[in-house]
């Protein structure tokens, strides 16, 4: 037993010595994503985004090489902290990109406060409070949060679709709360209604929606569904089988490409479902087309089109690299100059211009989409409009926005 301990210690010592040796002309960048457990597929796509950004810079900045070290979590905050601690304290990274999920992001933000000389850049974590309440001075989020992702959808549902009351069906945790808030807040402000007993928060991991579907009221105009991926596929199947016929409004991952392209009977009844999010697969813009082409070329075994995880990690890594370039790769002051540069960074991405607000959260474009029948008879998302430069406080003053309170099961109230 002692022998094994000694052997492992020796290996670790050797590794750290090796690290020291290349440290001189190298910048160490850590990338943290969910590479374990059920979200591995998403984390892998995030890593592809990181590598795409690094490839653009040829893995070097300001004359120094960039060494990428990966860290893995299983979407639980505890494992994210442990992985971050290993990257920062054991592997000695100076810039950390990640994490992927919302609750991990909240935990990493707290950890960042204890390591002021390391620069933390977000992956795709989209919880509001990561930057809205008690932000960390060294945590930068160049991607938008879950509420920002819903920009424009509430108004569209009220004004264009003509819905006046909606029911809500979403999973019972923070990310759906944020999405529902982002949708209902403008919808209710215009006069729409969504009473508390028309909101159905299903437990996480639940795949059986038939009883919930049976409990849905039939005096509403539409159902806002904020489920993702496979849960969404399950819900749509079960909804059709129960003879449901209300129109739907989608969250950012409810009617995305993976759901529309899933096997099984074509679901004609979701044609016309609007949704919103940070990317749109069918946006006709040369910047986006180039991004998709680069993705397909570099990763022939990846998804048919980059997901929002690849996109989020790409934008954040690129920002970090641009910042490093601006300071000539000089991190000798503990990264202070880098962080100053990042705070004022404005740059172009495959989805439009991105800049930061005072709490280091992104101001970026959001895409409003609707499901249509494509030329081959399959279903695709058509880009209806681009909502430009959405900020975290939706244009309001910070103090006024805080009055909305934290996202939760009953926020906002609109009877």
């Amino acid at each position: 037993m002692l022998v094994m301990l000694k052997k492992t210690l020796a290996t670790a010592l050797l590794l750290s010595l090796a690290n020291l040796a290349i440290a001189q002309g190298t910048i160490k960048m850590g990338a943290l994503a969910t590479l374990e457990g059920a979200f591995t597929v998403l984390g892998e796509d995030g890593m592809r985004g990181v590598k795409m950004a690094l490839n653009e810079f040829n893995y070097s900045v300001g004359g120094k090489k960039i060494q990428l070290i990966t860290g893995s979590s299983d979407a639980s905050p505890d494992s994210a902290i442990r992985a971050a601690r290993k990257l920062v304290e054991q592997d000695g990274v100076q810039v950390l990109v990640g994490p992927l999920s919302g609750s991990e992001g909240l935990a990493i933000k707290d950890y960042a406060k204890t390591k002021p000389n390391v620069t933390f850049v977000n992956g795709t974590s989209a919880a509001q409070d990561t930057t809205l309440r008690k932000p960390a001075g060294n945590f930068f989020r160049f991607s938008t949060d879950g509420a920002q992702w819903m920009a424009g959808l509430g108004e569209y549902a009220y004004k264009v679709k003509g819905y006046r009351s909606v029911a809500v069906l979403a999973e019972d945790y923070s990310f759906p709360y944020t999405q529902v808030f982002g949708f209902l807040e403008p919808f209710c402000r215009l006069g729409g209604k969504s009473s508390a007993d028309a909101r159905f928060w299903v437990p996480i991991g639940n795949k059986d929606y038939s009883s919930v579907i049976a409990a849905l009221p039939d005096d509403v105009d539409a159902i806002y569904v904020a489920l993702g991926g496979a849960d969404s596929v399950n819900f749509l199947t079960q909804y059709e089988q129960s003879g449901g016929d209300l129109p739907l409004v989608g969250g950012s991952i409810t009617v995305d490409q993976s759901v529309l392209g899933s096997k099984g009977r074509t679901r004609k009844f979701i044609i016309g479902t609007p949704a919103a999010g940070p990317i749109s697969d069918t946006w006709n813009d040369p910047r986006w087309d180039k991004f998709v082409a680069d993705y397909k070329k570099q990763f022939p075994d990846g998804f048919p089109s980059p997901s929002l995880f690849a996109h989020g990690y790409y934008v954040n890594t690129k920002a970090a690299l641009l910042g490093l370039q601006n300071v000539g790769g000089d991190l000798s002051d503990g990264g202070k100059k880098l962080r100053q540069s990042l705070s004022s960074l404005v740059f172009d991405t495959p989805t439009g211009m991105v800049s930061l607000d005072e709490r280091r959260n992104a101001i970026a474009d959001i895409f409003l989409t609707e499901v249509i029948e494509g030329p081959g008879g399959n279903l695709v998302n058509k880009t209806i409009k681009v909502v430009p430069q959405v900020s975290q406080t939706f244009g309001l003053q910070y103090e006024d926005f805080l009055k909305y309170g934290q996202v939760g099961r009953e926020n906002p109230r609109c009877e």
Partner: protein, 352 residues
């Protein structure tokens, strides 16, 4: 381990303590001086905390024959109590009680949780206990995840820190390591001592034949529930340390996977002896941290599962049992060599 009666009678001498134990003690105490902060904190302190929780499981399983998978839940419950009655940064609950009161409340709550689990499962035996405690652990996990008023649901609590006493920030790696080392050593001694006390011997006798003990007049159920209480104290203390270590607690900290991990740690290390769980914890933590460098991090669970399976199949007493079987053979060979052919059966093999 040495006999405390003889210790206090002034008759024990250093030479009676097995040399390996002295070397180990020196190594553990001097550990932070030659390792980095990361090793001290994330490997050293974390192994000790996990080992302590697994120790509470080992006490019930090894000495009591009751494999309770709800010890991790008890530790988690005590961690939640720390967040609820102490201070946290999430603005939910956080009554701000004085630190000594929150710690005592948390530990007692952990013990209470464990006692309730014991009361529910005391009428079951063996495998039934595993099933019922697993279901209770899962129930607690689901409840905590759904409830926002008290437990803040999916998000959990953050910003829980140890108090700054005597001018030391106990959250720093080195002081925290010594704190966990001290508590782990204390519980190790307590459990070993207890196993030789009347209570402990009674518990082991109940494990072996409850009917006979009942016939002898022992109140078997009360005895078992009391054992749950003591192991709950251990788990509760470890829970406080765990929440200080992570600085946060959420339903993921007490999920079914973590609960099974504690069982794996206890079994791999060796469930018959108090040092077993700590051995298992070190192996587990090292694998978890360095598998990504040595093997594929993604298949960490397969590796740990294989180790667990191999141990159960070939060495049910865990790694410690394996060591105990190999060790006499080594000593045997050495004695053969030094005595020039005359074999000598050396009997002072430590029982671990």
């Amino acid at each position: 381990m040495f006999d405390t009666r003889r210790l206090f009678s002034g008759n024990v001498s250093i030479s009676e303590i097995h040399p390996a134990k002295i070397i180990l003690a020196v190594f553990l105490i001097a550990y932070p001086s030659f390792t980095s902060d990361f090793f001290t904190f994330q490997i050293g302190a974390y192994s000790l905390i996990l080992g302590t929780i697994a120790l509470s499981l080992m006490m019930l399983a090894g000495y009591g024959g009751m494999v309770s998978l709800a010890q991790m839940s008890a530790a988690g419950f005590s961690g939640y109590i720390m967040a609820i009655f102490g201070e946290n940064s999430v603005a939910v609950m956080g009554f701000g009680w004085p630190w000594w009161l929150t710690i005592i409340t948390a530990i007692l709550c952990g013990a209470l949780f464990s006692t309730i689990v014991g009361a529910i499962s005391v009428r079951t035996e063996g495998i039934y206990t595993i099933m019922i405690t697993l279901a209770i652990a899962a129930a607690f996990f689901y409840f905590v995840r759904q409830n926002y008023h008290i437990f803040n649901g999916f998000t959990g609590f953050a910003g829980i820190e140890p108090p700054k006493l005597f001018g030391i920030n106990w959250r720093d790696p080195v002081p925290f390591y010594y704190l966990t080392l001290f508590l782990a050593a204390f519980f190790l001694w307590a459990v070993s001592h207890c196993s030789r006390s009347t209570f402990g011997l009674g518990l082991q006798a109940i494990r072996d034949n409850p009917r006979r003990m009942r016939a002898l007049g022992y109140h078997v159920s009360w005895h078992r529930i009391t054992a749950y209480f003591f192991s709950g104290l251990i788990a509760g203390t470890a829970g406080v340390l765990l929440v200080w270590f992570n600085g946060r607690i959420s339903p993921g900290s007490i999920g079914v996977e973590v609960v099974i991990d504690i069982l794996v740690i206890a079994v791999v290390g060796g469930i018959r002896s108090p040092t077993g769980p700590f051995l298992g914890a070190i192996v587990f933590v090292l694998l978890e941290n360095f598998a990504i460098d040595l093997i594929d991090r993604e298949r960490f669970n397969t590796v740990i599962g294989l180790v667990f399976l191999l141990v159960v199949l070939f060495s049910p007493d865990g790694l410690l049992g394996l060591w105990n079987r190999i060790y006499p053979k080594i000593r045997f060979r050495r004695s053969v060599r030094t005595n020039g052919g005359r074999t000598q059966w050396d009997d002072s093999v430590s029982s671990g």
